[in-house]
């Protein structure tokens, strides 16, 4: 799949909030050849931001070594049902996507 849909779950755990976010992204390393033997150009997520109720809590920089269709899990201190979590990414081609979920 090319860069596309995301899905997120945020659940209240024992004293923390568990976040699991799935992203559709090829995460191409630039070293892989396609079926015709041509190198597939690099294409990967470089930045990731996690926000809670509009406030940034995690910022990440990532390389092409993150697996295709990335899955990240994070944890937040405390939290409450209904807290709005937003995760967004930006890749090396300037493409971007984001998803939102309320803590359940």
């Amino acid at each position: 799949m090319a860069a596309g849909p995301m899905k997120m779950r945020a659940n209240l755990g024992q004293g923390f909030t568990d976040i699991r976010v799935l992203m559709t992204h090829p995460m191409e390393t630039g070293q892989r050849k396609d079926s015709e033997g041509k190198l597939v150009p690099m294409h990967f997520i470089q930045n990731l931001t996690v926000k809670v109720n509009g406030k940034t809590v995690i910022e990440a920089q990532t390389s092409q070594a993150v697996s295709r269709n990335p899955v990240f899990s994070f944890r937040l201190k405390g939290g409450a049902k209904g807290d709005k979590i937003e995760v967004s990414w930006l890749d090396n081609k300037g493409e971007t996507n984001k998803t939102e979920a309320a803590v359940a």
Partner: protein, 262 residues
Amino acid sequence: MRALLVGLLAVSFAASAQDAKKEIQKYQQMIASGSPAELFELEGETLWKKPQGPRNVSLDKCDLGKGPGVLKGAYAALPRYFKDAERVMDLETRLLYCMTTLQGRSREEATKRVFGNENEPSEMEYLSAYVAGQSRGVKMAPGTSHPKEKEAYALGRALFFHRAGAWDFSCASCHGEEGKRIRMQDLPVLSEAKYARPVMSTWPAYRVSNSQFKTMQWRINDCYRQMRMPEPSFASEATVAMNMYLAVNARGEPYRGPGTKR
């Protein structure tokens, strides 16, 4: 002394083999808990509801055996006999039927690209992910009462033990004996319920080795490829029969897929 040493060596060897098995299991558990399979269910839902074909209608009136548009538990009851088509069908065979009858698409167009790749998954793959996901928690109960269903099971069983091809393989060559593996992969004895259940209750599945979502039709197709056989035709009676044999061997198991595989 020497015997003791040899004994110790054997023990440590056995221990390391045990450890390796444990670590592989841990690997499998960890990838399953962080699987992108759900993304395919999401896309599948969009496709299910998207009007397509000459009649420009979606698949949401497709009858997968539980009535038009009923998805809950439909996958867990497949394969089964369909009176309208006068044959036993598995999920993909039935989806193809709906594409041709409801959407008015030609079989040729609808089967042009049944197996996708990592860049472009196929419509069948997305749809299978979505439909199968609607059976989570439902016990697998493929059709076993209609004579055609019995026939399909018997044919599937015969196919399973049938040796042919350039390398003389049958399915049972790899999946016929307990405790065997290929490379590091344990081989399930698919003729037995104990082994068929965990396997069949987690297909279709996301395969991490090639970042692709794969269906049962693909699974059977790729086994025959590696058996050095010619290619089974998509949705053919033989492939549905094989699927039926495996599903019946797994019946009673709550469906837990779409799963994640190596």
